[in-house]
Symmetry: C2
């Protein structure tokens, strides 16, 4: 194996250039550790191909040699999906060209390594909106967003990454290139193969390029921060606003009182938005691309009616872009505030919208019951039924002692989610961190189908092996 | 085989009841012929299971006996996907219950055999909209719409059937039931298996139930019939209206002058909408669910500005629901008018939006060049890039002589579509009628992936065999 490994590395250096076959441990290190440092991996080399052909060449060379390939984008994932255990890391960072943008087709064609924020900027420069967005947009790469079917802050109006993809170019396990770079709104010419690769976290193929949907740019926006009696009141308000604003409702984010308090405590420049404390809060955004619409006035009128109906207790509406940003900062500051407040045990879960209040109530009660002093911080994309149900440690507990209970709280929270017909992996994916949880809660027939797909498309199990699903349940 | 067949039929009669194992030739006949009568099949029996468990039982019994199963919904498909060649027909007609409707979750859970129009009505009764709609809605069954990823008249605003499905229940080739009936807006717990079964025309599994998305009901609607200089002007107008109306633009349908003329000639009650003739026409709809919006006024203002900019030549705007319906009738009457005008050779194709004018020009010229007197009638879902590029026979030609040229015109039209990066099967699917065309134009790597999927999920090739893709390219 050592000799054949040398042969492989020599061939890769020939094909990709010496500089792009990284084997120096110091240079490799940043590619081997996951963003939250929960997992550290090891690899024979890090490959940095510069074109689709080079990706295909590298994958073919590796898989012919029986060497696993772990694709990596911006390394901002939260599940360990990009952490190698042997094999090579294949970084898409150099495959980062804007191939085309077409405002008539309302499409943009990008290579997988393009930074998400640069995709947004290229769309903006063409007078259009690319709506996919999340906190790591400045370093996340679009191929990773597609491979994990990323969610984020614009799902309510525009859908998940899956909904934004019209076409894909994918390198398969045997190094062949599937050219599915279509820019079509309707295409029923056979199975919709791109769906296989979206959200499968690099286990079925390596996305090298994509055709993505663009939308008219919003011309007006309104943002409000609302005080509510409870999560149940938040649900009532959401249903009211959906009916009232329809697709102009672009965000409905939820914060429990604890989340607001730690943001105000830890995040510089944040200001208390409402005079009195409330049982729950929502950050609400409306937007419209119609030149004759005024999204702020529309939101204000709707909230005024909601208040008259007793649906909300108090509301602050941004009067300018700067004020809107300040309100958003209260929501976007939650992860940072959590980190500063102590250790967190995290869950990224979803339930049917109507079950959100039940979920929050049951999960908070169950977690506090086993560890008094624990501070639940379930916040996030309420309008999508998606809560980041994080648990902040009791104030005086050593962080390591708290984190040692990760599995125990997973069991409590995921049992409740499962019982409510929800998902234990809503928007971040499965990767390593939830692979065994998926095995536990997944439909057995569905798990068998997943194994069949993996076996049919990557029969040697060399593409990101061991992520999402183990080829044998006991392995 | 005869003995084992008798054994199978006896077992099926035991399990489903005598009345639901149809073998009388007269009773079977309606299940064996395709709606346009292009294909007639044969089958051992027609099965009518009444529950998911009975579907599973029937499939298990048949596939264990090596007997193929062809699922059938409302038998309104246009590609021969439901036509059996031996084996049994499995009709979903009795699996037709509304399981649940939830206006808070904005979901409806239906069995596959529910008539599309009844799904729409159930959503409406709950104060919501189920937007999937097409001409055969009074007899098409929802399972067929999902299995073919049906398009129709609401795709511009709401997407294809695929975009409306949150969860599925599917009976697999071995009779196991995959329970994927989730009502979640975000779910990344493993591969998105439902995507496999949407649009695969019953070749990978039999959809027995689905959770579908609902939307706020439009409160105001506006409809206009517009005269334009050309298809290129239609594209300019579409881009203008998309930017102006954003998601309030719910339909942008195209008619060439010939289509309008034959509708006025053949469809009773239709009235010429504009005084002068034009080079092209568009049927445009705007709608809004926002109580403070007036979709008709918004459409009128936008068209007035478009006229001032020289984008359109003339427009008629409906002043009432009845007038709106009359304008829609001009578009919806096209298929009927074509039938009355003579024989048609049909193509259901899509291209990137920006290439629509090129496609129409090239395809019309190329077809007329080989058969002077031929009358091209490319009409339909312009805003989706989807044209039903139909060819009406020369007035004096015997229909059979014209229809004998079907393959020749397919080659001309599909070559142009392929050259423009389009799809030869936009919304109706592949079935039998385009299987060999898909083999010709499909990406070879993609075709191989399709075969691998089919082989992995239906290894004995007993679910709707021979449709969409042959398991071996030469079979």
């Amino acid at each position: 194996m050592a000799a054949s490994l040398d042969t492989l590395l020599a061939a890769l250096r020939d094909g990709l250039g010496d500089r792009h076959v990284v084997t120096d441990p110091e240079d490799m290190a940043p590619y081997l550790v996951e963003s939250r440092k929960l997992f550290t991996g090891s690899a024979l080399a890090v490959l940095r191909p510069g074109s689709t052909e080079e990706v295909a060449f590298a994958v073919r060379a590796c898989t012919q040699a029986g060497v696993a390939v772990v694709p990596l984008g911006g390394n901002t994932g939260l599940t360990g999906a990009g952490v190698p255990h042997g094999g090579v890391v294949l970084s898409l960072e150099r495959l980062a060209r804007l191939r085309a943008v077409d405002p008539v087709d309302a499409t943009i064609t990008v290579e997988a390594g393009m930074i998400l924020q640069e995709v947004q900027a290229a769309a903006d420069a063409a007078g259009m909106l690319f709506p996919l967005s999340y906190a790591s947009r400045g370093s996340a790469r679009i191929g990773g967003g597609i491979s994990t079917n990323a969610g984020g802050i614009a799902v309510l109006a525009y859908g998940n990454a899956r909904d934004l993809v019209l076409g894909l170019e994918v390198v398969l396990a045997d190094g062949r290139v599937w050219n599915g770079l279509k820019a079509l709104r309707k295409d029923n010419a056979g199975y919709d193969l791109k769906q296989l690769f979206i959200g499968s976290e690099g286990t079925l193929g390596i996305v090298t390029a994509a055709v993505l949907k663009l939308f008219p740019k919003p011309r007006t926006t309104g943002v409000a921060f609302v005080g509510l009696d409870s999560a149940r009141a938040a649900l009532d308000l959401f249903v009211f606003l959906r009916s009232r604003l329809d697709r102009d409702l672009t965000a409905f984010e939820y914060l429990p009182p604890f989340a607001l308090e730690i943001v105000l405590r830890h995040v510089p420049g944040t200001v208390r938005p409402l005079a009195d404390p409330h049982g729950a809060y929502a950050l609400i955004e409306a937007a419209s691309a119609r030149p004759d619409a005024d999204a702020r006035a529309g939101l204000e009128a709707a909230l005024s009616d909601a208040m008259a109906d007793g649906l909300i207790a108090d509301a602050a509406i941004g009067a300018s872009g700067a004020q809107d940003d300040a309100l958003w900062r209260l929501r976007e500051g939650v992860p940072e505030a959590q980190t500063r407040e102590g250790a967190s045990i995290k869950h990224d879960v979803s339930v049917p919208l109507s079950r959100l209040p039940d979920f929050l109530e049951q999960a908070e009660d169950a977690c506090i019951a086993v560890m008094p002093g624990l501070r639940p911080c379930g916040f996030g994309h309420f309008g999508d039924g998606n809560i980041h149900f994080n648990l902040t440690q009791p104030a005086e507990m050593p962080p390591a002692d708290f984190l040692a209970e990760w599995g125990r709280f997973n069991r409590i929270v995921h049992d409740i989610v499962h019982g409510l017909g929800g998902s234990i992996a809503a928007e971040h994916g499965v990767g390593l961190i939830k692979r065994d949880e998926l095995e536990r809660y997944g439909d057995p027939v569905g798990l068998d189908l997943m194994r069949r797909l993996k076996g049919a498309i990557d029969p040697l199990n060399l593409l990101n092996p061991g992520k999402v699903i183990a080829l044998r349940p006991d392995s």
